[in-house]
């Protein structure tokens, strides 16, 4: 069975500029600026990107930022903790919606 995602498609990302070059160029410039060293180090930004990649469950981003984290000097312990941060926020986000449930139940209940 063929897979919906293809690893080799990551290298074709730039094709997204073919019918909207100006938007693509703006995205590229902004993206580069975002990941440049600033108040956060490049490694910190890469670890945030890795965590977000897991939160949005983007396989391309996971591959890309696993490699990028390694190239920024992070190790598996740091990268695993970053994924736990993403998981904790996702889990917490579900759980905090429990208050929505409690509010609705209260509204409906005697």
């Amino acid at each position: 069975m063929s897979s919906y995602y293809h690893e080799e498609d990551l290298a074709r990302f730039a094709e997204m500029g073919e019918h909207a070059p100006e938007l693509w160029n703006k995205f590229q410039q902004w993206y580069s600026a975002v990941f440049a060293e600033g108040a956060l180090t490049q490694r910190e930004k890469s670890l945030i990107a890795l965590a977000v990649a897991h939160a949005v469950q983007c396989p391309y981003c996971i591959d890309a930022y696993t490699e990028d984290c390694l190239e920024k000097g992070a190790d598996l312990a740091q990268m695993t903790e970053a994924v736990h941060v993403a998981a904790a926020i996702r889990g917490g986000a579900s759980l905090v919606h429990g208050l929505q449930m409690r509010n609705a139940a209260k509204r409906l209940s005697m």
Partner: protein
């Protein structure tokens, strides 16, 4: 882990390595990249470093070793060749002698090379794997190095055991820390000390090194906090797609991707600053090369330049044409890579 030579692996042969490296894969050749940067043909600009590789014997068998060094290797520089190196050195003003291997300290002529180079007033670098300092046969090695004010450049791919041992062998990290503490006790690596101790980071896999200044700060903080170890500088070095690292790339299916990465990361500034332009590399048998990597894939200095230390001619070698190949992309990727770390300032 065994050496490629010891297991008669096809990639023990430089010819087989070159066959893989020279496969046409639709990439820009290194020479074309140089030409586009106005650097072709690449030529030497003097000789600042005489790098002497005294042989392939080593007490470790690291996974990425470009020398395919190990305990079973017997290629060793003889006393006669070592004396020849020193006689030729004396005829020049080359300021630095960089001694490498294998574990160079295991060559019986290592101390002769150090003493003679120092007597000639040259700066001496020992490229050490650290664990050699703990061998019973080398009990006085650290003090010898300190007495002769030898700069120690030591491999340590990470500040935790997991990644270090995965690349360099079981318990190598613990022994490396013990050796670093021994060097610190002698004054090596301490702030303001003339006993220089520099570390070498190289990636534990098919990826590029981080920014040198960033990872140096991490190493300084973490080695101090976790292990009480001090050092001067940290050099980042890119893994070269030759010998055991090439075998790793091929056997894990990473070869093409890694080569693409090196090619895409070509940096003209790094190309202009490659170490071969100021280094001459001597093999264990006295043959001359542009760098230690060319030495391992048996690409000698260009035709017309003296090919052996016995025929050393400073004027001819100082302006020689550099022999290049696809592996040279390893020294020109990103911030560049050399025996002294990144070549392009952050």
């Amino acid at each position: 882990m065994a050496t490629l030579a010891g297991t008669r692996h096809p990639l023990a042969s430089p010819a087989e390595q070159l066959r893989i490296l020279n496969q046409p894969l639709g990439r820009r050749s290194f020479e074309e990249a140089l030409a586009a940067s106005g650097l072709y043909p690449l030529t030497a600009a003097g000789i600042q470093v005489l790098q002497i590789n005294v042989g392939k014997l080593c007490n470790q068998t690291c996974r990425h070793c470009h020398v395919d060094a190990g305990p079973d290797r017997r290629e060793m520089m003889t006393r006669e060749t070592a004396e020849l190196c020193m006689r030729k050195l004396a005829e020049t003003d080359i300021p630095t002698v960089d001694i490498t291997g294998g574990a160079p300290e295991l060559n019986p002529n290592f101390r002769f090379l150090v003493e003679e180079s120092r007597r000639l007033g040259r700066h001496v670098i020992d490229r050490s794997n650290l664990t050699v300092l703990l061998l019973p046969s080398q009990a006085d090695l650290a003090e010898f190095l300190a007495r002769h004010q030898v700069e120690v450049v030591a491999s340590l791919p990470y500040y935790t055991p997991e990644r270090t041992d995965a690349q360099r062998g079981e318990r190598v990290f613990a022994k490396s820390i013990e050796a670093l503490r021994l060097l610190n006790r002698l004054g090596y690596g301490l702030d303001g000390s003339p006993l220089r101790l520099n570390l070498v980071y190289n990636p534990s896999g098919a990826f590029l090194p981080p920014a040198q200044h960033a990872v140096e700060a991490d190493f300084r903080r973490e080695l101090r906090r976790r292990w009480g170890v001090e050092f001067h500088r940290l050099y980042t070095i890119t893994n070269m797609p030759i010998s055991r690292f090439l075998e790793f790339l091929v056997s894990t299916g990473n070869y093409e991707r890694y080569l693409d990465k090196l090619v895409r990361a070509y940096n003209p500034q790094a190309a202009a600053a490659v170490m071969c332009r100021s280094t001459l590399s001597v093999g264990w048998d006295g043959r001359l090369y542009d760098c230690d990597f060319n030495q391992m894939i048996e690409l000698p200095v260009a035709a017309g330049a003296p090919g052996h230390i016995r025929d050393f001619d400073y004027a001819a070698l100082a302006q020689r044409r550099i022999v290049t190949g696809v592996h040279c992309y390893g020294c020109t990727a990103g911030a560049g890579s050399s025996c002294g770390g990144a070549t392009v300032p952050a």
